[in-house]
């Protein structure tokens, strides 16, 4: 049986739960390569790394690059392999990740719905369609929406204890 979109998205959600357990913003992803195999996974690590660019997608990309470089693939081969990959991510990728995915010429992206509270997460520049259409990739949103939103909501209600005071809800500043 060929795994479908929903199955891969469930694997991405598994990463989300791992992130939540580590008090990270719950975002997870998997990258599926040729032959419908999951070749990499990633989850948000911004809190533990204190590096706000360590999004799930960036981790997934790093895992793949390390793997392929160690295998001894050339840059051209790596680019070719990326162009056959599909990313499944639980939250709409931010501008940084969309730009990175575009540089790597990824084939397609499936994502859960954007969440208003996830500030900065929205491809407002339409990088994947607009003026860089040559480097664009297909994007489809709205996969397993309810689960994505409720997990994020759970996280923000509990509050991000590692956020700076000015970024915390007032209830936590007692």
């Amino acid at each position: 049986m060929v795994p479908d979109i929903e199955t891969f998205m469930k694997f991405a959600f598994h990463q989300t739960k791992l992130a939540l357990d580590s008090l990270e913003v719950p975002v997870g992803c998997v990258i599926v390569g040729e032959g419908n195999n999951i070749v990499a996974s990633g989850r948000n690590r911004t809190t533990e790394s204190r590096n706000a660019t360590r999004h799930a997608e960036m981790k997934g990309i790093d895992v793949l690059l390390d793997l392929w470089r160690e295998t001894g693939f050339s840059k051209t081969q790596v680019a070719e392999k990326f162009s056959n990959c599909i990313l499944y991510v639980t939250c709409k990728p931010c501008i940084m990740c969309v730009a990175a995915l575009s540089m790597l010429s990824i084939k397609q992206v499936y994502y859960g719905r954007a969440n208003d509270k996830f500030g900065g997460c929205g491809s407002i520049l339409s990088l994947h369609f607009g003026d860089h259409s040559k480097r664009g990739f297909k994007c489809q949103e709205g996969i397993i929406v309810s689960e994505a939103v409720s997990l994020l909501r759970a996280f923000y209600e509990q509050g991000n204890p590692n956020a700076h005071r000015s970024h915390r809800p007032p209830s936590q500043l007692v």
């Binding site: 791992l18 357990d21 580590s22 008090l23 690590r45 911004t46 533990e48 790394s49 204190r50 590096n51 706000a52 660019t53 360590r54 960036m58 990309i61 790093d62 690059l65 470089r69 840059k75 051209t76 790596v78 680019a79 931010c94 501008i95 940084m96 730009a99 990175a100 575009s102 540089m103 790597l104 010429s105 500030g119 900065g120 929205g122 407002i124 520049l125 990088l127 003026d131 040559k134 480097r135 204890p161 590692n162 956020a163 700076h164 005071r165 970024h167 936590q172 007692v174």
Partner: protein, 443 residues
């Protein structure tokens, strides 16, 4: 001999003096610059009114036809007439661009017009709030508006003091020297600075080709522990920089230009001048500098059982498999690990004041304008100000191709500045050719 060496000295002194004159920092605003007299306008219906009716009419109009998207426009215009009398006009509502008739106006507005027997006319008002005094002066020729200089309080937007200018220029030179120090490549360089202490927090070059390119402060220790405040202001140092700088530029010929942000999609075509096994297409200078500053943060303010060495080796932390969430919170916020009885909230107050939150309050100096990925990464990392020396016509996200600083929907905003290098450098034919020829705009 004496004469000629004196001559050289004079040249150096002269160029240092010139440099001070030529050093300019330009604020790159949130929206594309428009000549003040060409600002976009919209049509509104207006009417001359009796001064005694002004209060009542304005109150009613604000209720029935509020100017939601024109908050900068004043509702009432006062024109002095001959003989010292004032003529008052009021904006009734928005008008369509084509139709000058009042038919499309809300019924309540039409009723007011009838009740007060107003004779209406169409006026033009400026669509956007003025961002400079010059724009404001032009706007008021159409219809008066209000002018508020930028509300977010980032120093430099309204100008730099002489001392701050020197400091900014010094750090930019530091970045340029760093960019030129990477063997025979010309790469982008990033320097993250705490402007309150004038301390370099971290620095990095592009590492998309190789992680071992730079000779200049490559190892993590120097990146993390530059506790000595960097003082770019002394005259002798400034002269040294100038000389170094000029020789660097004249040496640019025959070099490989490998600035990641200029050519983000070209990583597969980039010919490696030396064999390298650790290339990574996303390791642009700004991304690596952010990574180094995060590593410094973890090292100086550790919050878990990991040792600094482990962290550096890993690049980023492996999640702690032990410890429940509640336990971790305590570890995070208790300065003394034995003090587990203390309320973590109280401790959070103390540790927060010393511990940096990402790059809040920091500046970053980049030789080239960053691409979209790097510009958004700097939003995520909460950088306060970005200074770049050279625009990036291929992929620049801070004014050249995109203007990320103008995206109001983002959750953080930084101020962007361009630092103009001394004229003799920009005029250098090699540097010009790098900018114009080697990186033609690719569509």
């Amino acid at each position: 001999m004496n004469n000629s060496s004196e001559g050289i000295n004079k040249v150096v002194v002269a160029s240092a003096a010139e440099e001070e004159q030529q050093c300019r920092i330009i604020y790159i605003p949130d929206k594309p610059p428009v000549p003040p007299h060409l600002q976009p306008t919209v049509n509104v219906h207006a009417a001359v009114i009796e001064p005694k009716h002004a209060n009542t009419l304005v109150r009613k109009l604000n209720q029935i036809a509020p100017l939601e998207k024109l908050r900068h426009v004043k509702r009432v215009r006062k024109k002095s007439q001959d003989g010292g009398k004032n003529e008052l006009s009021v904006i009734l509502c928005l008008a369509s661009e084509s139709d000058s008739e009042l038919d499309g106006a809300p019924n309540d507005v039409l009723e007011l017009v009838k009740q007060y027997q107003l004779s209406t006319f169409v006026a033009k008002v400026c669509r956007y709030a003025a961002s400079t005094k010059e724009e404001w002066d032009e706007q008021c020729k159409f219809w008066p508006t209000s002018y508020h200089p930028p509300t977010y309080n980032i120093s430099g937007i309204t100008g730099f003091s002489k001392e701050d200018t020197k400091s900014v220029f010094g750090f930019m030179k530091y970045a340029v020297d760093l960019a030129r120090s990477c063997s025979n490549l010309v790469v982008n360089a990033a320097v993250i600075v705490d402007p309150s202490t004038k301390q370099v927090i971290s620095s990095a070059c592009d590492q998309d080709l190789s992680r071992t390119g730079c000779k200049f402060k490559t190892n993590m220790e120097t990146n993390c522990f530059k506790h000595e405040p960097f003082t770019p202001t002394s005259t002798s140092e400034s002269e040294n920089h100038q000389t170094l700088f000029a020789s660097h530029v004249s040496n640019l010929k025959g070099l490989h230009i490998c600035v990641s942000c200029l050519h983000p999609w070209g990583w597969t075509e980039q010919q490696l001048p030396e064999s390298s096994i650790s290339w990574h297409p996303l390791r642009h200078a700004a991304m690596v500098a952010i990574e180094h500053s995060a590593a410094r943060d973890r090292l100086l303010y550790p919050d878990s059982g990991h040792s600094g060495a482990e962290m550096i080796e890993e690049g980023y932390l492996v999640p702690s498999s032990t410890g429940l969430p509640s336990k971790r919170q305590k570890i995070n916020f208790t300065q003394d690990g034995n003090d587990e009885n203390l309320d973590w909230k109280t401790n959070a107050l103390q540790s927060d004041s010393a511990k940096p939150y990402l790059c809040t309050g920091y500046d970053i100096y980049l030789v080239w304008e960053p691409c979209t990925m790097c510009a958004m990464a700097l939003v995520h990392q909460r950088v306060k100000r970005i200074f770049y020396a050279l625009p990036n016509p291929n992929a620049g996200a801070l004014g050249s191709v995109h203007r990320l600083q103008g995206e109001r929907s983002l959750n953080h905003h930084y101020a962007v500045f361009r630092v103009l290098l001394p004229e003799e450098m920009v005029k250098d034919e090699t540097l010009v050719s790098i900018i114009s020829n080697n990186y033609q705009i690719k569509t």
